[in-house]
């Protein structure tokens, strides 16, 4: 059963890693991805989401990864609200007996998160102008390589 959380507050990557392997001796590796707000020109990035749907969508994505790679543990934490450049947005952890499934599942999780989780980013420039980030076709291509 994956750990899935949608939260405004920052997450502690080290604590989440420790929680995933606590008491386990069957895990051989954990793939990790941390998405970070990029852009020195930005004042902030605000993430809006669909509260009633978000956690369910993340759980479905995590369950798909667990099933495809027989993961021994999986954590998905996605933040929302107003974040400053340099702040972490999203954490993905995938634990497995071996590195290949752990790393593949990590890539899959972040690719699907970008195209199948109900979040929307709005950039706020230093002068205060706001702009919704448009979906990138490259993200659809990246997600499509995993099939449906």
């Amino acid at each position: 059963m994956a750990t899935v959380r949608v939260q405004r507050d920052p997450f502690d990557t080290g604590a989440e890693l420790a929680r995933l392997i606590a008491g386990r001796t069957d895990i051989g590796g954990i793939g990790a991805f941390v998405g970070v707000v990029r852009g020195a020109e930005l004042a902030a990035l605000t993430l809006e989401h669909y509260p009633a749907m978000t956690e369910r969508a993340l759980a479905a994505i995590a369950a798909e990864a667990e099933a495809r790679w027989q993961l021994l543990g999986c954590t998905v934490i996605h933040r929302y609200g107003r974040l400053a450049p340099g702040e972490p947005i999203v954490l993905v952890l995938a634990a497995s007996a071996h590195r290949e499934p752990a790393l593949a599942a990590t890539a899959f999780l972040i690719d699907w998160l970008k195209t199948k989780a109900p979040f929307w980013k709005q950039e706020e420039a230093q002068n205060g102008t706001r702009n919704w980030v448009e979906a990138r076709q490259e993200d659809d291509v990246a997600a499509a390589r995993w099939g449906n």
């Binding site: 998405g35 947005i89 999203v90 998160l113 195209t115 199948k116 109900p118 929307w120 919704w132 979906a135």
Partner: protein, 84 residues
Amino acid sequence: MLKLLYFASLRERMGRSEEDLALPEGVATVQDLIGWLTRRDQAGAAAFARPELVRAARNQEFAAPATPVQDGDEVAFFPPVTGG
């Protein structure tokens, strides 16, 4: 009654984040509902002007244009997602 939700740029163009709507006559699918909202007023016309940039969910699951809608459903409209 339908519960309609709007997110991100669609919320801004509609000028509201949600509304209750009596299921309009002749509306049986998500596509029908988009057409009805487009014709209802200027905000709807602006919000749904580019259908290729509109996504929908019915009862918190992603929906296709042909997905049926019925009384009691929660239908959300939003642009393509940009999380991660």
